[in-house]
Symmetry: C2
């Protein structure tokens, strides 16, 4: 009753914002960015962020390096990482295939009453996220000077 339309959990939210921070901060080099810097810049709990970023490391989005001057970095070129891959790692693989009414096995063959509406919405979200790369987002953020913090 307190509102949200919270499609993303806080964890995913933080992970996504962290990635956007990384790609918007790209200096061309492949230096590691520390979680301390990210958590400070984005005002996110350090330890909580750490756990989320480990998901992305395990998921093949990031590589990490320990020790002084260590941190995390994209494992692949930002052009090759689509938003959909990130969200699937953070929220689960079937994130874009769930029923709005929470009904088990709701699909085109066995639809819930709002399936026709929701399918369209999900389709658009899926399409948008499947065609938007982290590189595109980074460029957009820099060109338009967009914010990542409250």
């Amino acid at each position: 009753m307190t509102s949200t339309m919270k499609v993303l959990s806080n964890a995913s939210n933080y992970g996504l914002r962290a990635l956007l921070y990384i790609v918007s901060r790209e200096r061309g080099g492949d230096a590691y960015i520390s979680l301390g810097e990210i958590s400070e810049e984005l005002d996110i709990s350090f330890h909580f962020l750490t756990k989320t970023m480990q998901l992305l490391t395990q998921g093949g989005i990031l590589v990490s390096y320990r020790g002084p001057n260590g941190g995390i970095a994209l494992k692949r070129p930002a052009e090759e990482i689509m938003l959909i891959e990130v969200v699937k790692i953070l929220e689960g693989k079937d994130f874009f295939d769930t029923c709005m009414l929470g009904l088990e096995g709701c699909d085109d063959c066995n639809p819930c009453p709002v399936h026709h509406l929701w399918r369209e919405i999900k389709g658009k979200v899926k399409h948008d996220f499947a065609t938007t790369s982290l590189a595109m987002m980074g460029q957009r953020i820099n060109e338009q000077n967009l914010r990542l913090i409250p």
Copy 2:
């Protein structure tokens, strides 16, 4: 990480399904339907459902009547109740105006990096929900024999 794209809380989910049950069950009469019947038919915890339905009663969607043969009923004609009103009562008024990244004050003037994508999505959801009435849903459910249970 367990997936969901859970736009609706369980409480809202139950409330919406209960309303859809009511309108699909319409026998033309204005008899009250008991929460016991609904919770049984939809396999929802009785007491939990009760709390949610009280929100809808307080929100002006339902009227309730105690005692034998009592229950709940739509306060207004199903044609006049749009899905958007229901969701706003259950999830909060600004449900359709939140930022995907959870940033405070994200809007057209001060957008987050995914605002342009999310605004379109939200707009479509909002439009769909603002133009779909409970009556339309009830008719659809009956015509196509759609399910409200897992």
